[in-house]
Symmetry: C2
Subunit: 93 residues, 2 copies
DNA sequence: CGGGATCCCCGACGATACTG
DNA sequence: CAGTATCGTCGGGGATCCCG
């Protein structure tokens, strides 16, 4: 599985986003609510993200590993780019 | 469609990669060979990439737009990260 | 509360044949 | 050479139920 494979899947980025915005670890149910998803998908994503050591299951919930945090840092510019790109495409049509 | 949706699809990154490494525009058949894919998938990806103005159909083939080039620039660090990440995971198991 | 099991559905993929 | 049409296959998404 490639990185973009993983990140492209439903709720993968959303989970990273929610975790990076929380100052405390989030529980399974909290994540489920925050990401507005169902246990099935959330469970699959978390398993993949744990397997790849981007997220870990620490005491009292899930949080980003240091790897995960460095990845999020790289994604932010990409996210910014995609925002302006999306709005640009929208206004053109 | 979101950016990662688009980039996560088969051959999307590969096409960007091949185009960014070519110093001249590539024809449909050349891209097909370079990316080791079939016309069906290539056609779909090119259509999406053209719609979103990341790739354009210039004289004598396909090439990146300036948008496309700025996107590729942002992806490179991510790519580097994923390389070391993949090899790290591999050696750990 | 955490998370695995099941089941259905739909859309992406991929091969190939075909047309302008 | 460029691109479209067709069709079977496969895997992910999502809802829901259930057990420890």
């Amino acid at each position: 599985m490639t990185l973009l494979d993983l990140l492209g899947r439903r709720m993968a980025l959303r989970v990273l986003w929610e975790l990076s915005n929380a100052n405390a670890p989030l529980t399974f149910r909290e994540l489920e609510a925050a990401a507005e998803t169902n246990p099935s998908v959330l469970n699959k994503r978390l398993k993949e993200l744990r397997d790849t050591q981007i997220v870990e299951h620490c005491k009292e919930g899930y949080c980003l590993t240091s790897e995960g945090r460095s990845l999020v840092a790289l994604i932010l510019p990409l996210h910014a780019w995609s925002e302006s790109w999306a709005s640009k495409l929208r206004t053109e049509r």
